[in-house]
C-alpha cells in the first residue's frame, strides 16, 4: 500500500499476522503475487492478477446466472410417469413444509441469501473502487462481505446434488432442469469472481479514495 496506513513515504506496509500476531513488512505485490507469514505460514495478502474489470464482469455474469439458477426448474423427478419438479430455493421450502423451518433457513442462507449478498456486495464495492467513487456504504458492505464469506456454500450444495442423484438412481428418472446448468456455470463464475476479490487490495484502494471511518 504505497500511500496507505504505513504513512510516510514508505512503500512497505507494516502488518500483524492475523493468525500469530507477528509484525512484518509486506512490500508492493506484483499482480498474481501473494505473501505468507514467515512464522506461521498464514496467507497475509495477495494481489490477484486481472485487475478490477475482470471480477466486475464475472460478478455481473454471476448475478445473471443467479436469476436463472434460482427461478427456473432445477431438477425433475419421474416415477412411473408421474413428475415432481423443484427449484433450488424450493429445497428450503420443502424442509419448512415438513416442519423443519430452521433447517430450511440454514439451506436458504447458505445457498441463496449468502451467495446473493456476496455477489451483489462485491460487485457494488468493485464498481465504486473501479470508478473511484466513494459510493454510500462502501465500508459497511466490505465489513458485511467479510462476515458472510464463510457461509456461502454453493459449491457444497453441488456435492449434495450428486449424492441425491445417486440415491435416486434406481428409484426414479431424474431430468436435469435448465436451472441446474445455470447453477453449475454459477459455481464456476462466482468462484472465479471470489478468487479475484481480495479485500486487502480493495481496502488499500479505498484508503486512497479517503473512505475512512475516522480521519486520522
Amino acid at each position: 500500500m504505497p500511500d496507505g496506513s504505513a504513512g510516510r513515504n514508505d512503500t512497505r506496509e507494516l502488518v500483524a499476522c492475523h493468525q500469530c500476531d507477528e509484525l512484518q513488512y509486506i512490500g508492493v505485490l506484483a499482480p498474481g503475487q501473494s505473501v505468507r507469514c514467515y512464522r506461521c505460514d498464514a496467507l497475509l495478502a495477495r494481489n490477484p492478477a486481472g485487475g478490477l474489470l475482470l471480477p466486475i464482469l464475472l460478478n455481473l455474469g454471476a448475478l445473471l446466472l443467479m436469476l436463472l439458477a434460482y427461478f427456473l426448474p432445477f431438477l425433475t423427478l419421474e416415477i412411473q410417469g408421474r413428475l415432481q419438479t423443484t427449484t433450488l430455493p424450493g429445497t428450503a421450502k420443502a424442509l419448512y413444509e415438513a416442519g423443519m423451518g430452521e433447517t430450511g433457513i440454514v439451506v436458504l442462507l447458505t445457498t441463496v441469501i449468502g451467495p446473493v449478498v456476496l455477489v451483489t456486495g462485491s460487485l457494488y464495492v468493485l464498481l465504486g473502487v473501479k470508478l473511484y467513487r466513494p459510493l454510500p456504504g462502501l465500508r459497511h458492505i466490505m465489513v458485511w462481505i467479510g462476515h458472510v464469506l464463510p457461509w456461502g456454500m454453493l459449491d457444497v450444495f453441488m456435492v449434495g446434488v450428486l449424492v441425491a442423484a445417486v440415491k435416486l438412481s434406481d428409484m426414479a428418472n431424474l431430468v436435469v432442469g435448465p436451472a441446474l446448468y445455470a447453477y453449475v456455470a454459477l459455481i464456476v463464475v462466482s468462484t472465479a469472481a471470489l478468487s479475484l476479490f481480495e479485500p486487502h487490495v480493495i481496502w488499500a484502494r479505498m484508503d486512497r479514495m479517503g473512505v475512512w471511518y475516522r480521519a486520522r
Binding site: C20, D21, T86, G104, V106, V159, M171
Partner: protein, 203 residues
C-alpha cells in the same frame, strides 16, 4: 515481534494495524469495526460452542435424517445407515464422499478443536506452526459437512408422490445442521494467536 507486545492490534475485518493497549478495545479507524487485541472471551466461547456441538452430535447420528417410503415400504435412515446403504449398493465413491463429509470431518474437527483448546490451556509450545496449520484446515474444511443437509433438502423437495414414493426429512438432519454450524462458530471464536502467546516472547 508480536504486535500485542508493542501495544498494537490489527482489525479482524480489514487488517488495519492500530495502537491498542492490552485488554483494551477501540474502533478501527479504517472500517469502524470493534478491534480487540485478541478475540474477546475466545476460549470460553469456543469451549461452549464445541460442547454444544458434541452434545448435538448424538441426536445428529442417532435420529433419522430422513424416511424413505417407496411403493408402500421403507424405513428411516440415519447418517451411518445411509452410508452403509450406499456401500451395499456398490456406490463406493459416493459412499466415501458422504462418509468423509458427514462422519469423518465433523468428528475430526471436534477432536482438533478440543486438542487446540487444551494445548492453549497448557500453554504448550509444541509445534506451533503445525497447530496453526491444523486450525486453518479445520476452518477450511468445516463447511463441506453440510452436504448431507442439502441431500435431505433436495430429496424432500423432489420425492413427494404419495404412496408411490415419499421422502420426509427427519429431526437428525436438523441436529446435524446444528453440529456443522456450531463447529464452524467454535472454530471462528477460537483465536489462533493464543497458540503463539507467551509472556517471554515480549522481552
Amino acid at each position: 515481534m508480536r504486535a500485542s507486545c508493542l501495544g498494537l492490534a490489527s482489525c479482524a475485518v480489514c487488517n488495519q494495524l492500530m495502537r491498542l493497549p492490552a485488554r483494551r478495545t477501540g474502533l478501527c479507524p479504517r472500517c469502524g469495526s470493534q478491534v480487540y487485541v485478541r478475540k474477546p472471551a475466545s476460549l470460553s466461547n469456543s469451549w461452549a460452542l464445541l460442547l454444544a456441538a458434541v452434545i448435538m452430535y448424538f441426536p445428529a447420528n442417532l435420529l433419522p435424517i430422513m424416511t424413505v417410503m417407496y411403493l408402500g415400504s421403507g424405513q428411516p435412515d440415519t447418517i451411518i445407515s445411509g452410508v452403509i446403504r450406499l456401500m451395499m449398493h456398490g456406490d463406493w465413491p459416493i459412499a466415501l464422499v458422504v462418509f468423509v463429509a458427514s462422519v469423518l470431518v465433523p468428528l475430526l474437527k471436534m477432536i482438533v478443536l478440543l486438542y487446540l483448546l487444551l494445548s492453549v490451556h497448557r500453554k504448550s509450545t509444541f509445534r506451533r506452526r503445525e497447530r496453526t496449520r491444523l486450525y486453518r484446515m479445520t476452518e477450511l474444511v468445516g463447511r463441506w459437512s453440510m452436504v448431507d443437509v442439502f441431500v435431505v433438502a433436495l430429496l424432500a423437495a423432489l420425492v413427494h408422490l404419495g404412496v408411490l414414493a415419499d421422502i420426509t426429512p427427519g429431526p437428525g438432519a436438523r441436529a446435524f445442521a446444528a453440529v456443522v454450524i456450531l463447529t464452524m462458530l467454535a472454530a471462528m471464536s477460537f483465536d489462533p494467536r493464543l497458540i503463539w502467546d507467551r509472556e517471554e516472547d515480549c522481552q
